[in-house]
């Protein structure tokens, strides 16, 4: 069947051009690079080989980095959830009307600040001359500045929780708001007290919000490189590995293969989360 072009197809041009220029062309370029024959110091040649993928997926070093990255990403997600859930619960179920939404908008304001500056700001709190160390010194709890708060995995997680909080609070707020009040009442009527109502009704029904928060936090973490580089000390994640391969080592084919592998992993993870955690229910 022939599809006729009409004048209205013009409206599709800007979006198509945007996607083409900023998504498809870069990704296709990376895919092409990932099959080239690799080598350090920008000495790579066009060609076709699976060598880069094999090396990336089988190397001990990358496997370790992969494990550490997933652990950090998961811990960050959990930590964010633990902080965000009570906030979202309070905003959605304790406050009346739109007050909760207004507070969420206030939470978004710090996100206007530059990402790197926000990360650096934590130096003033967690660093050797930072607020926490000074406080502990003044109180006489420690004799000299400690470093566990800064240049460590904990610092990475703390900074991520701070950055990701609005992204977790918002979807949780939306799901908690969408649960009909009478379900809580029905649960109580059937003999369930407040605690068991939370675990049997509220928590399962807020799964879609948790899933969205997971996608917003866990997935970007797999490629995160700035936070570990700036506050993470020896913490070396997948994002750092890829940036190093691109910028320092100069092995673009290897870096590209790593990028594409990461992309596929995140796609699979997102698909599973969407399919099994009822995210679609949010939009029905």
């Amino acid at each position: 069947m022939k599809r006729r072009l009409s004048i209205y197809h013009i409206y599709a041009i800007p979006t198509t051009a945007y996607l083409l220029l900023f998504f498809y062309i870069p990704i296709i370029t990376i895919i092409v690079y990932s099959f080239w024959i690799g080598g350090p110091f920008y000495e790579f040649k066009p060609g076709f080989t699976l060598e880069n993928y094999v090396r990336f997926l089988t190397s001990r070093v990358t496997q370790n980095v992969m494990i550490v990255t997933n652990v950090v990403a998961f811990l960050s997600f959990l930590a964010t959830l633990l902080v965000a859930y009570p906030i979202a619960y309070f905003l959605a179920r304790v406050l009346k009307g739109d007050t909760g939404l207004r507070i969420i908008l206030l939470m978004l304001i710090p996100l206007e600040m530059n990402y790197l500056i926000r990360i650096f700001a934590w130096r003033n709190i967690l660093g050797e001359q930072g607020f926490i160390n000074n406080l502990l010194l003044t109180l006489g709890i420690i004799d000299e500045p400690v470093r566990i708060f800064f240049h460590s995995m904990y610092a990475v997680i703390i900074v991520i929780v701070h950055n990701a909080l609005p992204y977790a609070v918002f979807p949780l707020y939306i799901t908690l708001r969408s649960i009909p009040q009478n379900l809580y009442q029905a649960a109580m009527d059937l003999g369930s007290n407040r605690v068991s109502t939370f675990f049997r009704v509220t928590l399962p029904l807020s799964m879609p919000g948790i899933a969205v928060a997971f996608l917003f936090i866990y997935v970007p973490m797999l490629g995160e490189f700035a936070i570990p580089a700036l506050v993470g000390g020896k913490t070396f994640l997948l994002g750092n590995l890829i940036t190093r391969q691109y910028l320092d080592v100069g092995n673009w084919p290897y870096a590209s293969a790593a990028t594409i592998s990461l992309l596929i992993i995140t796609l699979i993870a997102s698909f599973l989360v969407f399919k099994y955690m009822g995210v679609r229910r949010l939009y029905e």
């Binding site: 003999g191 007290n193 009822g278």
Partner: protein, 357 residues
């Protein structure tokens, strides 16, 4: 006494939702609370369930004061207006919800869920999602979820509202049967007088937060306690008038269309001679004849509308002063036509009289 409400008051801000409500329901009885929307009937049900606390008064269940007990400590269970089934649980898990909270072991849960599912004929839906069953089936799941707990009192908040007429009528018969079978106390809230009549052992008519009348179906229908009840339940013809004579068992009222006689036992309040009253007569209590008979309470009228609707034929008649009166009869072949001059009459025992101040 299964359920007893004493002087219940409930205020929402400046609005009085319930005013001095007193109710008593015996074990095994089905009480229907009948009222229009905003009459306070749902609030009353929520107070019995514990979802709402009264501002004054006491709630007693089996003699125990439960006024300040939370819903999860009361032997009641509620079927919600919009059912409130748990969307994340399937049919079986919805029904088993209360049993699992009470920590019954798995075999016991299974036996009891199957038993109640069989009773409500939903046993082949148990592993279905509650989103993928019909409205009538969802209805039954909600009912099963409450009944499985064997509550002393089952509360139903207009649970049939979403069903179409035919299905509702079937459910009335089935619910009534079910209630006799499980033999616990039911309190059923509705705005539908037909539903109330179909289900009730006792009816409580509620209006603007006050119980207008509490009685059996016959009491409420034959002898409505107030003008509101009279106009709310069934149909009623009203004539305004003034009392001309009170003598022994007989009360005479002068109306614009003639004199009406009533027996005293149907007179609400104590009207004296000269008092303004409203006289009410049910449409099916009025006889219609071609010639004047020698009964008391005979008026002349003209047929203005005839409407046959299955079982009943409704006549609308015009009285000499231009007001209209309705008559219902089950016989079709009366041979009247529009415009015919007829006579109508009724017995003094069928006349309700209300003082109108």
């Amino acid at each position: 006494m299964s359920l007893k409400l004493e002087n219940i008051h409930k205020f929402f801000g400046h609005i009085t939702a319930l005013k001095n409500v007193n109710l008593e329901v015996n074990k095994g009885e089905l009480l229907v609370i009948l009222g229009t929307s905003g009459s306070g009937k749902s609030t009353l049900l929520r107070i019995i369930s514990g979802l709402e606390k009264p501002d004054k008064g006491r709630v007693l269940i089996n003699g125990r004061d439960v006024t300040y007990e939370p819903p999860y400590n009361r032997p009641t269970s509620m079927v919600f207006q919009d059912l409130a089934l748990f969307p994340h649980l399937n049919v079986f898990e919805n029904i088993a919800f209360g049993l699992k909270i009470r920590k019954y072991d798995r075999r016991e849960v299974e036996i009891r869920v199957k038993e109640v599912a069989e009773m409500l004929r939903i046993n082949d839906l148990l592993d279905r999602s509650v989103a993928k069953i019909s409205g009538g089936q969802r209805q039954r799941v909600a009912l099963a979820r409450s009944l499985v707990l064997h509550p002393d009192i089952l509360l139903l908040d207009e649970p049939l509202g979403a069903l179409d007429m035919k299905l509702r009528m079937d459910m009335w018969v089935e619910l009534k049967k079910l209630q006799r079978q499980v033999a616990n106390t039911w309190v059923f809230v509705t705005h539908d007088q037909h539903e109330a009549m179909a289900l009730a052992d006792k009816i409580a008519v509620i209006n603007t937060g006050e119980i207008q009348q509490l009685g059996t179906k016959d009491e409420v229908y034959d002898s409505p306690a107030s003008l509101f009840v009279a106009s709310f339940i069934g149909e009623m013809n009203f004539l305004e008038g003034r009392v001309t004579e009170v003598k022994g068992d007989v009360l005479k009222v002068e109306t614009p269309v003639g004199e009406v006689e009533a027996t005293m036992q149907r007179v609400k309040g104590r009207p004296e001679t000269g008092a303004r009253v409203t006289v009410g007569i049910r449409p099916e209590k009025i006889q219609i004849t071609k010639t004047p008979n020698d009964c008391i309470n005979t008026l002349s009228a003209r047929v203005s509308e005839i409407n046959f609707s299955g079982v009943l034929t409704t006549y609308e008649l015009e009285l000499p002063d231009g007001s209209r009166i309705k008559i219902q009869t089950t016989s079709r072949q009366m041979g009247y036509r529009q415009g015919d001059k007829v006579y109508i009459s009724w017995s003094p025992e069928d006349v309700n009289v209300y003082v109108t101040q």
